[in-house]
């Protein structure tokens, strides 16, 4: 049984952990675990989407106005950046399956850079919101509301609370993803990943795509409320 044989340290990457019988079982379990983790993430964001649905339904007009204060072009550009990063991530996974050790590092670095670009743009957008007093609880004021009073301002504040909560948690996931990518790059440079062993690349790839998909939902919900066709 594999559990009794001690594996030398330098072969750690190929090591079979003692609770598993075969490498296939180990990889299978890890992937399955990741999918379940992503399901928990869906439920986690689901609570926010529910709150969003309730309040958008209650205050559709204010949400329209508040949404249009976001810069659609920057948001769209950032969406493209994130989609590209998903592409480079897939290419990194592909490279690892083919055992192209140089290419893994290259594509991971590209993914990481695109991730940073996204976060940078997001940071810029938040700074603008800060300057425009669109941050809830900090001298909040949104222009363009009709009528403009404490009540509608309160509703607009709800929109921006959800905006910051959702994009903030999304960005938090991106930061974690960036940390994981750095770990992957560090390990990949040492040649740890090969056609036989590439589970971490695969799993972190799944995670990265998940974070990407969350944004694909956030972008229209937050930026495009008042951009129905024909308006």
């Amino acid at each position: 049984m594999a559990s009794d044989t001690h594996v030398p340290a330098h072969q750690e990457t190929l090591a079979l952990r003692e609770q598993f019988d075969t490498a296939a079982q180990q990889k299978d379990a890890s992937t399955f675990g990741m999918w379940i983790f992503l399901i928990t993430e869906v439920m986690f964001f689901g609570g926010l989407f529910l709150a969003y649905t309730v309040y958008r339904h209650l205050y559709p007009d204010v949400f329209d106005v508040a949404s249009s204060s976001l810069n659609v072009y920057i948001g769209a550009a950032n969406t493209v950046v994130l989609l590209c990063s998903s592409l480079t991530m897939v290419l990194a996974v592909r490279a690892s399956q083919l055992g192209q050790k140089q290419m893994i590092v290259l594509f991971l670095v590209l993914t990481l850079m695109l991730g940073f670009v996204f976060l940078g743009v997001k940071g810029y957008e938040w700074t603008v919101k800060f300057q425009e007093h669109h941050v809830p609880g900090m001298g909040f004021h949104l222009e363009g509301l009709t009528p403009d009073n404490a009540v509608t301002q309160g509703h607009a504040q709800l929109f921006f609370s959800l905006y910051f909560a959702m994009t903030g948690l999304h960005a938090f996931h991106m930061v974690i993803g960036a940390g994981l990518l750095m770990y992957l790059i560090f390990e990949a440079r040492k040649g740890r990943y090969s056609a036989e062993y590439n589970t971490p690349v695969d799993l972190i790839g799944l995670y990265w795509h998940f974070v990407d998909i969350i944004w694909i939902f956030l972008f229209p919900l937050l930026y495009l409320i008042d951009r129905h066709l024909g308006r």
Partner: protein, 333 residues
């Protein structure tokens, strides 16, 4: 003194007997199944106790007939519970039209009660026996719950909206009023008494402490004091819709919806006028949130309801059209 040990609450409302009957049905079902399960376990445990360490019982793997039987029968019984309970609940949610309206504002930690005739009470509620009473309730701070065990009814009292509760007292007496939703430090002191009185006694009680003005009169003063008649002209000629006959009518909104003008709508339209704009009018009205208390709002609401009554000729005629409306004496009616 012997300590009291009452085991059954007093039943003093029209619905209390119905709730007790349902409770009795539930109790009988529960007792039957409890005795069945306990009895069977006892019997099997004694009858089939292990007599030798080496005995090996015959294996049964279960039977689909049994499984279906003991799924379907309990389910059928629970459906009786569902229908019975739902029927009661539905009744409890539909106050009759002739119910006596009374307003309740909860706050940490007291119940403030106001009768349309203008009497105010704190932690006490006087009501006539035999007439449905409808409470319109809201909270100034946290969630409370208005609970009268002898009436078998309660409803949460939630800040930001009106909830209603209704009952018909059947027996004169003094009954506990509890706050049933935890509301902070002195939650268990947010209690009081409900006095159910014979109609004549109730009338005497009303007359014994006549307030200077009715709720609608107070509402009228507020209405005029805040300058509302400048736009809300009774003939509809103002920049805002007329409020005469508004309560209980269907309102067409600018966004195409039609809604019922109930208390909640009136309250919302005072505090957040932009939430629902009446079709054909602009969103001109400023919000009064923060400028009026919940107690003010219930008086305004009562005033607007009174305007509705007036239009149907139920009460003496008000001042001439176009002038600020004044309230005639209501107390004598």
């Amino acid at each position: 003194m012997e300590p009291k040990l009452p085991l059954f609450p007093e039943a003093a409302s029209a619905i209390a007997g119905d709730v007790d009957h349902l409770a009795l049905f539930l109790l009988v079902v529960a007792a039957f199944f409890t005795v069945l399960i306990f009895g069977t376990i006892f019997y099997f445990a004694i009858r089939y106790r292990r007599r030798s360490d080496r005995e090996l019982p015959h294996v049964q793997h279960g039977g689909m007939t049994l499984e279906i039987l003991w799924s379907v029968i309990p389910f059928a019984i629970t459906m009786v519970m569902f229908v019975w309970g739902a029927d009661l609940y539905y009744k409890e949610s539909r106050p009759p039209d002739n119910a006596l309206p009374i307003y309740v504002v909860g706050k940490q930690w007291m119940w403030k009660i106001e009768h349309i005739e203008g009497q105010r009470e704190i932690n006490e509620l006087h009501i006539p026996v035999g007439r449905p009473v409808r409470l319109t309730m809201t909270s100034e701070d946290v969630i409370h719950s208005f609970f009268v065990p002898a009436f078998r009814t309660k409803s949460d009292v939630v800040p930001g909206k009106y909830s209603t509760e209704w009952f018909t007292a059947t027996k004169p007496g003094k009954y506990h009023l509890f706050c049933a939703e935890y509301c902070g430090n002195r939650h268990s002191s947010m209690i009081g008494w409900v006095y159910a009185m014979d109609p004549q006694d109730y009338q005497n009680w009303l007359n014994s402490s006549p307030p200077s003005s009715t709720m609608a009169e107070n509402g009228s003063k507020l209405f005029n004091g805040m300058g509302c008649p400048a736009c809300h002209k009774p003939d509809g000629a103002g920049r805002c819709p007329s409020l005469v006959g508004l309560y209980g009518s269907a309102v067409h909104l600018a966004d195409g919806r039609t809604i019922l003008a109930d208390e909640d709508y009136l309250r919302e339209s005072i505090l957040q006028p932009q939430a629902k704009i009446v079709a054909g009018y602009g969103a001109l009205m400023p919000t009064f949130q923060g400028q009026v208390t919940e107690e003010d709002v219930v008086q305004l609401v009562e005033y607007i309801k009174w305007l509705g009554d007036k239009s149907e000729g139920k009460t003496p005629a008000p001042g001439t059209q176009g002038e600020p409306l004044t309230i005639p004496e209501l107390r004598g009616k």
